[in-house]
């Protein structure tokens, strides 16, 4: 069995993995990061989105062995000192979730799209979230939350 090293939410792990083990199953079943859910078998829904070496990826579509040596950030690594990340808070405040199943992936995809454009228009947000499906909300509140999260993240950067 291949042995891999991964850093997840700042913690380094060494694991022996079967080649067919998906990254999302490593996260959930071996490392206890159940904050990252699985929503489909076809790479469509985006619920499982994480950051792989700083870029969004669908963790159901990556083998754990492919992530050997990589740095992974999940939804559970976002809060600092018990305080929610501004994007998490914005989702909460704008009622951008109902059942919440898509939310971890939405939040990660939202943070990813801000790497490119820290002050995105509604259209940029809608394009940036193309790979994330929500069965409940109808997206309006999600888009609002991403705008609000972006503004709050911008302020956090500007006021040290």
């Amino acid at each position: 069995m291949p042995r891999i090293t991964v850093t997840v939410d700042g913690v380094k792990y060494e694991e022996d993995v079967e080649p067919r083990l998906l990254l999302v199953h490593l996260l959930r079943e071996r490392l206890g990061r159940t904050g990252t859910p699985v929503g489909c078998d076809t790479s469509n829904c985006g619920a499982c989105t994480i950051m792989l070496d700083g870029k969004s990826a669908k963790s159901c579509s990556v083998l754990a062995v492919q992530a050997d040596g990589c740095d992974i950030l999940t939804i559970e690594g976002l809060s600092e000192g018990g305080r929610m990340h501004p994007m998490q808070r914005a989702f909460h405040e704008e009622h951008a979730l109902q059942c919440g199943y898509c939310t971890p992936g939405m939040v990660m995809a939202a943070i990813d799209l801000l790497r490119e454009d820290p002050d995105p228009s509604e259209e940029t947000i809608r394009h940036g979230l193309e790979g994330n499906l929500c069965r409940c909300t109808g997206y309006c509140n999600i888009v609002r939350a991403v705008r609000r999260g972006a503004q709050e993240m911008g302020q956090a950067v500007n006021t040290p």
């Binding site: 067919r20 076809t42 969004s56 669908k58 492919q66 790979g131």
Partner: protein, 284 residues
Amino acid sequence: MIPAPFDYVRPDSLAEACQALAADEEAKVLAGGQSLMPLLRLRLAYPSRLVDIGRLPELKGVHDRGDHVFIGAMATHDEVMRSHVVNADCPLIALATATVADPAIRHRGTFGGSLAHADPAGDLPAVVLALEGVFVTRSEQGEREIPAAEFFVDYLESALRTAEVLVGVKIPKLGPGWGFHYEKFRRTAQAWAIVGVAAAVRRANGSIAEARIGLSNMGPTPVRAHAAEAGLRDAELGDQVRQACEQAAADTSPSSDLHAQADYRRHLARVLTHRAVRAAAGSP
């Protein structure tokens, strides 16, 4: 679902990758995995071994090679659509790549993977066909070059032999005077093309001097719209161009499926070709 078991190797060089593939007939190349992983999870594919080419330096990057651009097979969609070289010298590829899937898939899916997969609904096969790219491959038998017109053999079938790796594609530069457009019709965001049209047009004195048109999803392989191309030679913008584009679906054999009937696909090919050609010619 969980994929069926397989062995995994991650060679350090292209030569080792070719060896690992040659040693096992049921082995498959793993690039970005964005087409392969769903196939494994739905248990539609049962490779005995995956040869991960993801870290091979020989397959990476986009390179300006004078008269052509060389796009490495492992260049990700995200890299390709942002590449200055691609945007300057073969912008049609950047335009089409930006419509592929979604940002997370574009971070991992690769240029070479989309082409080797040979899905006629994919966006890049028709584009590379229109741009007359040349596929560079490697196997234990050595290197081969395959012109785009011979690369796409049948549905999900390319001219790649077992144990052969696509190294990259040479895209000839078309020089000044050419305009480009990719027109894609789909029902939802992040969806595949119901029909896609890649157009490259050389304009001269208010008319079109020559045009190259590649069609996505108009048959088991991507195809060139030869009849429309012939009609567009020296065609004046306006009625002549419109009439030429009416030939866009000639000699195609689109399928009927959940998304569209064949006759609707033919209709789309004509309408989208007209739009793509006008946009490529810079005419509103």
